[in-house]
Amino acid sequence: MLPRSMRTKSFVLTVLLLSVIPIASVADGTQAADSIERGRELAFDRRKGNCLACHAIDGGDLAGNYGPPLLLMKSRFPDRDVLRAQIWDASVRLPSTRMPPYGRHRILTEDEIDLVVDFILSL
């Protein structure tokens, strides 16, 4: 058995830890939810990603079928970097691509692309 003072200390520590972890993870969760939401706005905005012009995406109206529907993206893109590269410049993987090079032609900023990637991975 630990001396009383130690016991109190470890109790306090445990309480602290227990209380901090959930707070931290809730904060992480809202942050993630927040970036997914911002990513969605960028993806749907006609003057930004305008992804719906070409892709059916859950939650979006009036989608085109110029490109494949975007669903089950986490299983199709287990490597986040591969997905980011597709959006940054699809012609690297497929020279004959019919998708705009969002990064290379600065259609979106690097930060905006990260947010869109967060959103796409949530699909």
């Binding site: 012009a53 009036l62 085109g64 079928n65 110029y66």
Partner: protein
Amino acid sequence: MKSLNLKTLLIVCACVALLAGVVQADPETERQTMVDYFQKKFPNVELAEFANGIYAFDENAREQWIEIEDFPPYEIAIEDGEAFFNTPFANGRGYADCFENGGIAVRQNYPYFDSSKGEVITLEFAINQCRQDSGEQPLPWMTGELAAISAYMSFTSRGNPIDVQISNDDSGALAAYAAGKQLYFTRRGQLNFACSHCHVQSAGLALRADPLSTTLGQATHWPVYRFKWGEIGTLHKRFKECSEQVRAQPFEAQSAEWRNLEFYLTYMSNGLEINGPASRR
């Protein structure tokens, strides 16, 4: 040593000639390839139907369009165009004096390559040329009076098969055709698309709710009353819209570049009937 050099040179020459032969455009073969490609892609669409753009294959849009054609929104433009066409210039001459057959039923022969001038002459270009030859001011290219005159001239040409001539020994015409073709297949703009990405590979697919028309038939029916424009506009107005859509700097209407593009595009529709003016949503 010397003979070896000569031999190498001869081989090089032969190779260059061979390459040139391959690279040199043969418009008729290329047109046939384009026709085959779309007939395979749309096996249920009859060849003549391609002149109707997206209405050739989009059933919903087609129904609406047929209803609209009962009261065509371009009718006023045809009437206005006829009146403009028949109003003499200040010097007493008129449009009829500038064209074969008095300008009636001639649209199927445009654009053509004028060897003496070394450039492509589109119908709209010829209309303004006609005015300037009589000391009149040229008209704006994309809408208004010029588009109306063009609509009237198309109307008198309805049903005539497009007959753009390119002789295989007319190097000027071949070069203009090749330049137009290159423009159609070259990526441009911030979005980095060529015309062909949308109208060859993706024809029939939809951007948002807009199905994409095929290269074949894109030049048969101009000018067009487009509901989005709320007026009648020429082919080069559409070129401008598509350029802006991919955030590319458009060329000028009736620039050499776009006259070459129209030359290529119209050649691809050779044999299809003139059915302008037309309505598009």
